[in-house]
């Protein structure tokens, strides 16, 4: 009896909670979806982008006299590995296709032999 009662209370709390959550989220969406707010976000993101870019340029410049690799250096090296991997991939595909063609050719010759054509 008590368990059922608790379950009923929890179900009611869940239902009310979901309704309140939906209303809160709709309100947040409405507030954020205003041109003035969106313009402020846009302007702030531009300022943040300018600061990040300046910081990145500074780190790139400092990496030369201080002789340390940056994230861009690591990315460039990794891209070379990926290029090599793609070339190997292509070779592997060609070898697989060649193997299949070879097997098919062997089958055809074997069949021809058994029929006495060759």
């Amino acid at each position: 009896m008590t368990t059922n009662h608790t379950q009923e209370i929890l179900n009611a709390v869940k239902k009310i909670g979901q309704k309140v959550e939906l209303e809160l989220n709709n309100s947040i969406h409405d507030v954020l979806n205003q041109p003035s707010i969106l313009k402020t976000i846009n302007n702030q993101s531009r300022l943040a982008a300018a600061s990040i870019s300046k910081l990145q340029q500074t780190v790139e410049t400092l990496s030369i006299p201080f002789n340390f690799p940056t994230k861009n250096d690591v990315a460039s090296t990794t891209k070379l590995f990926i290029q090599a991997e793609e070339k190997l991939d292509l070779l592997e595909e060609q070898v697989t296709h060649l193997n299949r063609s070879f097997e098919e050719l062997k089958d055809t010759i074997a069949k021809s032999h058994s029929r006495g054509i060759i």
Partner: protein, 339 residues
């Protein structure tokens, strides 16, 4: 406090404070790897169908939602039903992947992955099954594919971006170029997972506590609590996103709605839904706050497929397998078109 109440509260505390749960337990082997991507093969113990399934998941989350755990794994359910399953896992991108575009994902990963799956399975045809943005990519790829695509299944995949569930004003300003987020995307290069998560949350549910209320109502049930833990772990497991792909999607989808309008160009080829002739099964979820049905259903009128079906699923964005069985609507549609 009596025992059932105590069990509920201890179960709740145990569930929310426990470590990462085990996920992705269906046996699999890697058949191809490139960069961070892996093509996984899930063999079927009782293979009944000739046409294998090729699963494509989104770029912003990890695909283990498709293999959440025993009894709640779509992949496990599909292999048990007799399908050979291949999953293309794009992996977790690093800073070196910041320039990967939608073209790269479709031509260098999906197309190559399909070729590899066909080679590995020795199958004459294949079924594409795309989820969320992976479904959008599957549809785009199907429209330019030279590979033999028998069926295309699009699960909660946005196709028509003319209607957005929220932020209509933001979309208008983006279209009128009053908002330009390119500088911040370029500065980041790779959008961090926390930002991806916040972005998705702002669009869907900025405040989200109802999953905890749901958990509280069944926290004394160990199995349901474990499922909640696994699902919650997935919901929090966002991955970084390449800024180049995000910028391209913002312009090609949100701003110009190019795919449904037949103006999208991928790898120099015009990708339009009218090019799709494969059997099509599109699925929308009735309570999906991220991808509403209005964004999915228009594909039905645009494809050239003769066999095309739209199905509305009762549930949310992440509704998949349960009780170890593939959903009946999916199994019924696939089984009739996989031999």
């Amino acid at each position: 406090m009596n025992t059932p109440k105590l069990n509920r509260w201890t179960g709740f505390i145990k569930t929310v404070s426990s470590l990462e749960p085990e996920v992705g337990m269906t046996p699999r082997t890697a058949v191809w790897k490139k960069n961070k991507a892996t093509l996984w093969h899930y063999p079927s113990k009782n293979k009944k169908y000739k046409v294998p399934l090729f699963l494509i998941y989104s770029l912003i989350n990890q695909p283990f939602i498709l293999d959440l755990g025993p009894k709640y794994s779509l992949i496990e359910a599909l292999t048990s039903s007799g399908y050979e399953v291949y999953l293309l896992d794009f992996g977790i991108p690093g800073y070196e992947d910041k320039d990967l575009t939608m073209d790269d994902y479709i031509l260098r990963y999906i197309k190559k992955g399909v070729q590899r799956a066909l080679l590995h399975s020795n199958a004459a045809e294949i079924t594409l099954v795309g989820f969320c943005m992976g479904g959008t990519f599957a549809a785009i790829y199907a429209s330019i594919a030279e590979e033999p695509i028998r069926n295309v299944v699009l699960s909660v995949a946005p196709i028509d971006f003319s209607q957005t569930p929220v932020f209509s004003e933001a979309l208008n300003m983006l279209k009128n170029e009053e908002i330009d987020l390119d500088p911040i995307f370029d500065a980041w290069g790779l959008i961090p997972p926390s930002f991806v998560k916040k972005g998705i949350r702002i669009v869907t549910v900025p405040i989200s506590y109802s999953p905890y209320l749901s958990l509280l109502s069944y926290a004394d049930d160990e199995e349901r609590s474990l499922k909640w833990r696994r699902f919650n772990y997935w919901a929090d497991s966002h991955i970084p996103l390449s800024a180049a792909a995000l910028k391209q999607m913002a312009v090609d989808f949100e701003k110009e709605n190019k795919f449904i309008n037949g103006k999208l160009v991928i790898g120099g080829r015009l990708a339009k839904p009218e090019n799709i002739t494969a059997n099509l099964f599109a699925i929308g979820a009735s309570y999906d706050r991220l991808i509403p049905i209005e964004q999915i259903v228009p594909i039905i009128d645009h494809v050239s497929s003769i066999d095309k079906t739209f199905h509305i699923l009762e549930g949310g964005h992440g509704s998949l397998a349960k009780d170890g069985k593939a959903p009946d609507y999916l199994d019924a549609w696939l089984s009739a078109r996989s031999n």
